[in-house]
């Protein structure tokens, strides 16, 4: 637990020091939102319908950049090997990093949310729920994302390998988060958003323990 806290603190500090990079990722996400609306055309009604989906696609694409960066810092001077050599358990490194990545992706989502609201003009009644969905959905991106970023950071062609491995894995997150977000923004007469949120919770419940268990295999040489 102590080691998890220390690793989490370390990743937060690194994230804060590298905030210029983090902001660049957020700008990239906002640019994606803008570009995605060009794919539809100036149809306000349709854009409102698709806003939730675009938000998550932009978040997913930006997340690979943030995840890659977090392991670039670890590989630069083999800092992750240094942590293992201090006797730190790989799972502690994983949970520290996955928590920090979760927070980072959540903040990224919070930054992209107003951009989405401005561009697509959804109703703001369910915005509190959307923030909750952001928290659950980014948790679902963070755990498998941290595992696969750790793995692909050690390979050639890591830029393509991370999305290739991660995107199929997070299809349930994307589906559930997009449905829940859209329902909350467009009205949810049947109260279905709750069951999608439960699906996200279930996904997190499966992958947070599983990825923590497997992370040691990925980073030990």
């Amino acid at each position: 637990m102590r080691a998890v806290a220390a690793a989490f603190y370390k990743d937060l500090l690194l994230g804060w020091r590298g905030r210029a990079q983090g902001m660049a990722v957020a700008v990239f996400g906002a640019t994606l939102l803008l570009l995605l609306s060009f794919a539809v055309g100036p149809n306000a009604q349709m854009l409102r319908q698709l806003g939730g989906g675009f938000l998550w696609v932009a978040l997913l694409f930006s997340s690979t950049l943030a995840l890659t960066e977090s392991f670039r810092l670890e590989r630069e001077n083999r800092a992750i090997e240094g942590m293992l050599l201090l006797g730190v358990h790989p799972a502690a490194i994983f949970y520290g990093k996955a928590l920090a990545n979760w927070l980072q992706l959540f903040v990224l989502g919070l930054l992209l949310l107003p951009v989405m609201v401005v561009l697509y003009d959804p109703s703001l009644d369910g915005i509190g729920g959307v923030i909750g969905v952001l928290a659950l959905g980014t948790a679902g991106l963070s755990a498998p994302g941290t595992l696969h970023a750790g793995l692909s950071s050690q390979t050639r062609a890591q830029q393509v390998l991370l999305p290739l491995l991660l995107f199929p894995l997070v299809v349930p997150v994307l589906i559930a988060a997009v449905r829940a977000t859209s329902l909350l923004l467009l009205g949810d007469p049947m109260g279905q958003a709750r069951s999608w949120a439960l699906l996200l919770l279930a996904f997190d419940g499966v992958f947070w323990p599983l990825c923590g268990l497997l992370f040691g295999h990925v980073i030990e040489e």
Binding site: K10, L14, N77, A79, M83, V88
Partner: protein
Amino acid sequence: MNETKAAIEARGLCKRYGRTWALVDVDLCIRPGEALVVAGRNGSGKSTLLRVLAGSLRPDRGEVRLLGTSLRRGRAALVGHASFTYDLLTGMENLRIAARLLGRPSGPEEIQPFLDRVGLGARGADRVQAYSAGMRKRLTLARALMQDAPVLLLDEPYGQLDPPGFGLIDRLVDELRAEGRAVVLASHQVERLSRICDRALLLDAGRAVWSGPASELPFAFQRLEEASIRAVAG
């Protein structure tokens, strides 16, 4: 068996990278308070041996025992080619994070002595990205000292250091040995190391080709060079 347990004991270590073998059947044994120099040319397996002894690399065959128990990471401190540091953070922050991970007190006043000991006392507040290669080496050394491990593994200890740094290494090795720790140094600077170490191991193409008192290492190294020249010539 000797009554004092071996600080580090390795039997039949083999390690491969893909199709090439970096280590083949290497044995070694060091008692607490001893210093061993591992010599050999570039690519002879010195760094791999140290990383295996640290627990960073899993040997493909063989076993490492540390004070009579099988090796766990964290019990042998490694100062290797990589500095294990985060360039975005300051020297002090890097050490504080290591202290937190180790569960040691991590206040600035507890960390400062380690920075002073390696001659970085005045530069703790600078980011590591502004450090020279020699300063990074010193920082990694401070990190290893903080680990308070019974075994220290120093890979090319003099690499990138300035002449005062050479003296620092020699002094540290003496101090560590006086504290009853075992030190393994890998280097091709055989003359200098043969004076501060007790025993020596000569590696060639991943095999231990000679071991003996450190004072005889320069001669053994010389013979290895001559033999390989003969092999190439004939």
